[in-house]
């Protein structure tokens, strides 16, 4: 099986619980776990979207594990894991991917080299 994304990190992390709605920009050095709703710009080392989670906006992370819903722009520098309850729509870029049966991918899917991903993240930060 695939190792779990975003565990045992000593770096700063954030947890958005179920029912919590957050709108805005966020930079997380560690793991961002979203069980509630997030809308905006998110830059993090890893992103974990729980079953009840809903994330939309400009998301750029190194690794992501999706059990809930992710919309708009998602850039994953290294590994993207979509679990069976996960659903991603919009523009997705990744360098490694795994989708469990039942997981949904819709929109424009693109594979990128990790170096390209970095450039993409920089341009997102600049707002280009």
């Amino acid at each position: 099986m695939v190792e779990k994304v975003g565990e045992q990190s000593s770096e700063g992390a954030i947890f958005i619980g179920a029912g919590v709605e957050f709108k805005g920009d966020m930079t997380v050095p560690g793991c961002a776990t979203v069980d509630g709703k997030f809308e905006g710009v998110l830059k993090a080392k890893s992103l974990v979207v729980g079953q009840t989670g809903n994330v939309s906006g400009q998301i750029s992370v190194e690794t992501a594990e999706v059990r809930g819903v992710v919309g708009d722009n998602l850039t994953v520098q290294s590994k993207l894991v979509v679990r069976s309850s996960g659903s991603i729509s919009g523009a997705v870029s990744y360098s490694k991917i795994m989708v469990e049966e039942g997981g949904e991918l819709a929109g424009t899917i693109e594979k990128i080299a990790p170096a390209e991903a970095e450039q993409k993240i920089v341009s997102i930060q600049r707002g280009e």
């Binding site: 695939v2 979509v82 490694k96 991917i97 795994m98 989708v99 469990e100 049966e101 039942g102 997981g103 949904e104 991918l105 819709a106 929109g107 424009t108 899917i109 693109e110 594979k111």
Partner: protein
């Protein structure tokens, strides 16, 4: 024998979605036998491949219309794929309408894809425009075969 040229290839994704695979001529013709077609490594097809189950080790340029399609590690398909289940271990660049798609490790799928359920194993590669088809009624349609499926259409595409 059925006349292959009488098989109407769906022109639209909705037709594939409602396609009555139980009355797909190659399915009816096999009469319970286990039958499949292999395009081997040295073979290539330009045009239409219509089969019940197809294992593609070689190259296909054009249309693949089958209930079950497996593109093996050495296989390559460029064109259009209409099927029920699609297994990708090789390389595909196509417009695809299917029910289930599985991209295995080493498989490369670059497609305009409409699917119902998908799975990408680690090491698989996917790209392109994807769209999930909404399942209105997962069960096979009751009643006789759709008359459309028996209309003559020699052009195919």
């Amino acid at each position: 024998m059925y006349d292959c040229s009488l098989i109407v290839v769906p022109q639209h994704e909705d037709e594939v979605a409602e396609y009555d695979w139980g009355n797909f001529p190659p399915n009816k013709h096999h009469k319970g036998k286990t039958s499949f077609s292999i395009i081997d490594e040295s073979a290539g097809i330009e045009g239409k491949l219509i089969a019940r189950t197809a294992f593609i080790h070689g190259q296909v340029q054009g249309l693949v219309f089958a209930e079950h399609v497996t593109i093996e590690a050495t296989g390559r398909v460029d064109g259009i794929i209409f099927c029920r289940t699609l297994n990708v271990l090789g390389s595909v660049r196509a417009n695809i309408v299917c029910d289930n798609v599985i991209v295995r490790s080493g498989g490369r799928l670059s497609a305009n894809l409409k699917y119902r359920s998908m799975k990408v194993e680690p090491g698989g590669l996917v790209g392109g425009q994807f769209e999930r088809r909404v399942v209105i009624d997962g069960r096979a349609k009751p009643g006789p075969a759709t008359p459309v499926a028996m209309t003559a259409n020699r052009n195919g595409q």
